[in-house]
């Protein structure tokens, strides 16, 4: 489009002038604090990797790391199992109705995470709507514990993750060539067989991208486990906060943050390989 030397192209000095203010701000408010975090983790007075060796032998850290992977992976799995049929339902709608349904799917994306956490606690809490309904149906008093434990974290998490999973799978369902399915039907294939042999395999790129986006988004979660989980459901982000505010151990907090940064960096790189460079930004914007 814009070849070098065309009249619409900016000269290098003016481009630099326009880019300088934002670049300086990003260096000061993004790169510097990240570098400071790494520095704090390895330089508590003199250079040492002690913070990291201590983390690796800390039962608290290892338990929290295990929690983080467990919660993140099970949340993603539930989101996939729930999201896939929704994506199929959306794909089968005529475009105008699909837009209306999509607005419903996107609404949680626009709602504050605090509003959602508060509301989920009200719906799934001990005296919440779901327990009231269950009690009404069974005719007794029901107090199914669904909040402030693992179930609560997963519920909060999939409410946040589902839109990303659904949109990702929907994309690859809509891209499929439907004549394939018509052909299979004409030749007498049963619906289940068509699903396993055609629809599912062709949608795998969307599934893989959706799963990676979900894991990436959930691995660093802070608000949901803090508000909807119990004390046993602490995730890595909550541990960073714990070291910073409760024990005032900034070295341990920084080392934990660096570990989280590395994990999510790996995931983003993987996602970039699967989806091209715009992986996450395409999902968010």
């Amino acid at each position: 489009m814009a070849q070098s030397g065309t009249a619409s192209e900016l000269s290098l000095p003016s481009a630099l002038m326009l880019l300088a203010p934002l670049t300086l701000l990003m260096l000061a408010i993004l790169v510097y604090p990240l570098a400071l975090t790494v520095w704090t983790s390895v330089y508590p007075g003199q250079f040492s990797l002690q913070a990291y060796t201590e983390l690796l032998s800390s039962t608290l850290f290892l338990k929290v790391l295990k929690n983080t992977f467990e919660i993140s992976l099970s949340g993603t799995l539930v989101s996939l199992l729930v999201g896939y049929p929704v994506a199929m339902h959306l794909a089968a709608q005529p475009p105008s109705r699909r837009t209306a349904y999509l607005i419903m799917v996107m609404l949680p994306f626009w709602t504050s995470i605090l509003v959602k956490s508060f509301a989920l606690a009200a719906v799934f809490g001990n005296q919440g709507l779901v327990n009231q309904l269950l009690g009404f149906v069974s005719g007794g008093q029901i107090n199914l514990p669904m909040m402030f434990n693992r179930v609560g974290v997963i519920l909060g998490m999939i409410n946040f993750l589902l839109p990303f999973m659904i949109l990702s799978i929907l994309g690859s369902l809509l891209a499929q060539d439907r004549t394939l399915i018509l052909a299979a039907e004409t030749m007498g294939a049963k619906p289940l067989r068509i699903f396993w042999k055609i629809t599912l395999p062709l949608s795998l790129p969307g599934v893989v991208a959706g799963v990676l986006i979900n894991i990436t988004l959930s691995i660093g979660m802070y608000i949901t486990p803090a508000l909807l989980g119990g004390r046993q459901d602490m995730m890595v982000a909550n541990l960073v906060d714990f070291y910073t505010r409760q024990t005032l151990d900034w070295t341990a907090a920084s080392a934990t943050a660096v570990v989280l940064l590395l994990i999510s960096g790996l995931l983003v790189a993987l996602l970039g390989k699967v989806r091209g460079a715009s992986g996450l930004s395409g999902a968010v914007a």
Binding site: I103, P108, A119, E185, V240, T244, S254, L280
Partner: protein
């Protein structure tokens, strides 16, 4: 239209049921706060047994609540304006120049979206405690500019890719200076994408909790931070009124964005 998963009635009904359960699960939390907010001011109750405005009255007479809302609106407004001033020219320079390694800069501007926000919160906390910016509106606005930059970048850069370069070429050939081209030719074409980015940035800043929680104390406390500690420690019914106000605001902003995006798609 059902070609996607065959024509079996049973499978279609199963899928529709599963999908509708999921729609309800996604919608319910955003909507249920509305009836609760008009109910019993003594406890969180659904379905509500009375209709009162008591919770709204509590919200607007408690300085700690409406003060933090004013602070949030202020931070979000200033953040959005400053991010626009910084990011729109930068996006223009990235798209319309042949600067070597401009992908590196683009990566830098997109990075806040990819780094876990807790890591940014801790880094800024360490930095601002050295710089004396903890619990200040300045510190909070600076970090929100950083957090909202990628969203304005994405929107404005895609607007630039869709705008008509030849208009700029023509203006340049006819002797218009670079600033004149930028303000009279480029910006008018970008109006919708700038508005979308700005609304998005405003909402992001307004709803942002984690960084604000790390950086603010009693003086610069924003509404999300106040809500966070309230949900965590007391779970007061006033939260339903706050949530309803926030949900309505988000809904308005979302509808604005959808309408603007339709407009840009209609006349690219």
């Amino acid at each position: 239209m059902n070609a996607l998963f065959g024509s079996s009635r049973l499978s279609r009904n199963l899928i529709a049921t599963a999908a509708w359960l999921c729609y309800v699960f996604l919608l319910l939390p955003s909507l249920i706060v509305i009836p609760i907010s008009f109910g019993n001011p003594g406890q969180i109750e659904f379905p509500p047994r009375q209709f009162t405005l008591a919770l709204y009255q509590q919200f607007f007479t408690d300085q700690a609540w409406w003060g933090s809302m004013v602070q949030s609106l202020l931070v979000a407004t200033v953040t959005t304006m400053l991010t626009l001033v910084l990011a729109v020219p930068a996006a223009y320079a990235l798209v319309r120049s042949q600067l070597p390694r401009r992908n590196l800069l683009r990566g830098l501007f997109m990075m806040p979206m990819l780094v876990p926000v807790i890591v940014l919160g801790l880094g800024l906390y360490l930095q601002f405690s050295n710089w004396g910016l903890l619990d200040t509106t300045t510190g909070l606005v600076l970090s929100h500019i950083m957090l909202t930059t990628p969203f304005i970048m994405v929107s404005v850069m895609s607007g630039l890719h869709h705008s008509d370069v030849s208009l700029e070429t023509v203006a340049s050939i006819m002797g218009a200076s670079r600033p004149v081209i930028f303000f009279r030719v480029v910006l008018p074409q970008l109006k919708a994408s700038i508005a979308v980015g700005a609304l998005f940035a405003f909402l992001m800043s307004l709803d942002e909790v984690v960084v604000a929680y790390f950086l603010t104390g009693t003086k610069a406390m924003t509404l999300p931070v106040k809500m966070y500690s309230s949900i965590r420690w007391e779970l007061t019914p006033v939260l339903a009124a706050v949530s309803t106000l926030l949900t309505l605001l988000s809904l308005l902003i979302a509808l604005g964005i959808i309408a603007l995006q339709r407009k840009t798609e209609a006349n690219p």
